[in-house]
Symmetry: C2
Subunit: 250 residues, 2 copies
């Protein structure tokens, strides 16, 4: 299939591909993916960020580039650069930002292949892929067509409910023979700014339990922090690096 | 198609159908769906809970019925009852709870139709449907095949990122001519138990802003509360009712 070949050709010019995933929604996949991309760009690497969470395309807002759209140069369509990062997301293709993406499986698959095959990403050191929750069409399209993925970063929160779904994502990665780089536990605890009390709002040790069970590395435990949420809402991820010890777990 | 007809026949015996959805993951859809179901059952109504979040089936654990499976009586397959609520979820059909559901769109569609058409739900006063994030196959299957849905409950958190995706879900509901019962804002604030300080961890007024913009009712603002999370992790939703003013927003 020509679309798959074009997408595979694009990937040949990209040294490292990292998939940020989780079986569970709302655990912080986009937050981790965006900050990983920014951290790598700050080190001077050529970084691309592909948002394959087609229904919930949040990375452009988080990076602060709501107005940047893909643009045509000759025959090529180029990804816009935001904060030095090349970004492609369904949010850039909507006539109106508030309209839903109402696609069934097959359309999602061809959209992902087009985002890779029809966009001139050029040479990249890293391509970070932000995924939707679940183990459906989007992830299958990536894992079935690209065999040289460096690995997955799997994000969880400490809660038992989150572990249930994240465990499925770990087994999915294994099933598809995709290396797991490690686990990231997000929203590990909250420290009250007023009195210093530490609150384990979403529970404790979800990341540790899964890391031990599957012999994975727990790369980082990121606390709940208002600055993280407000930076992402305002599109200022770089400012997030002001709290280096809680940032990109890499 | 015979499957659709069977599913539509099942729905004829159900008085009210409520779809709990959100464009965003991890905002508390399952938490709201499970507690709404429990609240209705506590009032003596006949309630069913259908989990169409096929990849992230959490409602059975939250209800406390991990071991309850669908069972055969004559020609019928009956949904198990947990806490007086009939429940069907993909988690009941897995050989091993940790294995992922690796289905593409068409399989998801037939699974949902089978969950309705091949299961003997009997007469119900309410069927609550817990949805995955996004506006893809699962929601399309429900909205395209069942025209007598009472309405959707749309769950958001206060954050701007969450509003982006939830706004798409609102427009999707409108696009499909499905009534919106109202918005529920979850994780509105956190009160430190030690010093009483109120923390707006995920921002403020996301629910109000959307409710005003789309002329919807903001049914409830549920605070972040450790008891809510630990009850759901332990499968004791009824205990949650110990804090009536923050519970099911109905
Ligand atoms: N450590 C954190 N502290 C506070 N808020 C966070 C943190 N991580 C993520 N968030 C917020 O939680 C919400 C969900 O995060 P997001 O990255 O969108 O998750 P996902 O991509 O898994 O759906 C967003 O509003 C985000 O700003
Ligand atoms: N108000 C709340 N306070 C504390 N934890 C909550 C609250 N609402 C939901 N949670 C927890 O947040 C996580 C996400 O909730 P869940 O209902 O699974 O969301 P969704 O169905 O939208 O993915 C779960 O671990 C749940 O226990
Ligand atoms: Zn305090």
């Amino acid at each position: 299939n020509a679309m798959i070949e074009k997408a595979q050709n694009t990937m040949k010019n990209i040294s490292h591909k990292i998939v940020v995933m989780s079986g569970k929604g709302g655990v912080g996949k986009s937050t981790v993916a965006v900050n990983l991309a920014v951290a790598l760009a700050l080190e001077g690497r050529k970084v691309g960020l592909l948002d394959i969470d087609l229904h919930g395309p949040d990375v452009v807002r988080m990076l602060g580039g709501n107005s940047a759209k893909p643009y045509q140069v000759g025959n090529d369509v180029l990804p816009p650069e935001i904060n030095g990062i090349k970004v492609i997301s369904t949010s850039q293709f909507l006539k109106d930002e508030t309209s839903p993406i109402v696609w069934r499986g097959p359309l999602k698959t061809s959209a992902i292949l087009e985002f890779l095959g029809d966009i001139a990403w050029g040479e990249l050191d890293y391509l970070i892929m932000d995924c939707p929750p679940g183990t459906g069409d989007e992830l299958l399209t990536v894992f079935q067509n690209f065999k040289d993925i460096d690995g997955t970063l799997i994000v969880t929160t400490p809660s038992v409910v989150s572990q249930d779904d994240v465990e499925k994502a770990i087994n999915f990665s294994k099933m598809m023979n995709v290396n797991i780089l490690g686990l990231v536990e997000n929203m590990s605890y909250f420290v009250c700014e007023k009195c210093g009390e530490k609150h384990y709002i979403f529970g404790q040790d979800g990341g540790k339990t899964l890391a031990e069970k599957y012999n994975l590395e727990l790369l980082q435990e990121i606390p709940i922090n208002k600055i993280i949420r407000s930076n992402m809402d305002k599109g200022q991820p770089a400012a997030y690096f002001g709290i280096p010890d809680t940032v990109a777990p890499f």
